[in-house]
Symmetry: C2
Subunit: 239 residues, 2 copies
Amino acid sequence: MRLHIKKTALRTVELVPKLHGFLMSQLPTAYVEQLHELDTNPYALYVTTKGDYHVWTVHLLTQEAIEVIAPVLDSLFSIRLDSYDEPLVIDRKEVCQRTVEELLDLFRTQKTDGTFKLRFVTPTSFKVQGEYILFPSVHLIMQSLMQKYHRLIDHGEPLDYQLLDMIEQNSKIVSYDLKTWYFTVHRHKIPAFHGEVTLKVYGSETLKAYVNMLLHFGEYSGVGIKNSLGMGGLVLDKG
Amino acid sequence: MRLHIKKTALRTVELVPKLHGFLMSQLPTAYVEQLHELDTNPYALYVTTKGDYHVWTVHLLTQEAIEVIAPVLDSLFSIRLDSYDEPLVIDRKEVCQRTVEELLDLFRTQKTDGTFKLRFVTPTSFKVQGEYILFPSVHLIMQSLMQKYHRLIDHGEPLDYQLLDMIEQNSKIVSYDLKTWYFTVHRHKIPAFHGEVTLKVYGSETLKAYVNMLLHFGEYSGVGIKNSLGMGGLVLDKG
C-alpha cells in the first residue's frame, strides 16, 4: 500500500520513525507485543519523495498483518503526530495485492534471461557477526531474501543452504553504482548504501526462475536489516 | 611526469594502449624485454581528460626506469602514432620528483588523523585466483600496494602478511561512491570500478603513518592490476 502524503518540512529520515511510531500506536497492543517476538516483521515500510509528496510505502506480508494493519491504513485520511504540529494530509492511496500464488506463478511461468536490475531505493545494510556490511554481495542479498521468505511464507522452514550455495556459484554482480548513506535510528548512525546493482544468474532455467521469484518477493519484504524502519527498500527494474 | 596533449578525436580508452605502444617502441629493445620479465612494472601510466587536454600521467618508479624512460619523454614535443593520422601535440609537461627518502620522511614526520580519501581516477580492478574483483576492500588495496612497494623499492623483500593483517584489523572503509567501469584491453573487457573511498585507520600512530606512506606511494605506483595500461590510477585527496 502506498500513501501519498502532502510534503511537509520534515525530512524523510525524520518522518520514517514518526510514521512507524504512529502506525504502532494505532494497532491493538496485543498485536504489537506479538510483533516484538518475531524474528522477521510481517510488514516492511519506507518513505521516498516524489514531486510534492512523501510517498509512504507499507508492505504487509502475511494474512494476519493484512487483516490487522490494512483496515487501519484504509481508514486514514490525515495523520496527527505527537511531535509535529501540522497534520499530515494523505492525498491518495494506492493498493496493490499480490498473493503467494501469484509469486509462485512467476516462478512457474515468467521467462527471464537471468539479468536483474536491483535498485536499493532507501539505505540498505547487512549485519554479519555484529558488524555492518557496507558492500552488497550475491550471498548477502539472496540469504536475506531466502530467510525472510522462509520465515514469512514457508512458516519457518529451515533455510536451504545448499540452494543458497548453488545460487552463489551461478550468479555474479556484473555492474553497480552505489554510494554509502548512513541511516539514523534512535540517534545511532547505521552504515548503509543505496543505488543500483545488476545481477546476472547463469545456470538452469529453474534457478533463474527461483531468483526471479525471490527478488519480486524482495520488493515487498525489503532486503537486509531494519525493513520496518525504512531501510532496505528494493525495486526491481524491468531489464 | 605529466604530458598535456591537445585533445584529439580519440577516446581515452583508445588513446591509452596507443600511447603505451608508442612509449615501448621508443625504448631500447633490450630494456623492453627486461620489462617483460618483471612481476611488477617499474612504471605506471594513465590518461585522464582536463579541459582541452588529454593528460598523460607516467610514473617512473625505479632509478633505472627514470634513467631509461625519462629522457625519451623529455625529448618529446609531438607524437606520431601509426594508427592515427594527426600528430599529437604536447603542449606542456609537468615533472614532479619524489625520492624514497621523501616517502620515508612522510612516514617519520607527517601527522595524520588516520582518515584517507582515495580517488580511483581510472578503472581499477583486482584479480584473485583468476577472478576479477569488482568491489575494493582494505585487504585488496593494501596488499596490492605492499606488493608493489616490496617488489620495486625493497628489492623483492617478501610481503609481511602479519603487518597486512594488522592493517586489516585496524582499518575500515567508512564511506564510498563507486561505479563499475569496464576497461577494454586487447578487445577484452575487464570488470573494474572507479570513484571514491574513505578509509579510516584506527590503532597506533605508526600504523597510520605506514598506511599514509603506502597510499602516497600508491599515487605513483597505481593500485590493482594493469597499471601500465592505464588502470588503477590513484589520487589521494587531502582530508
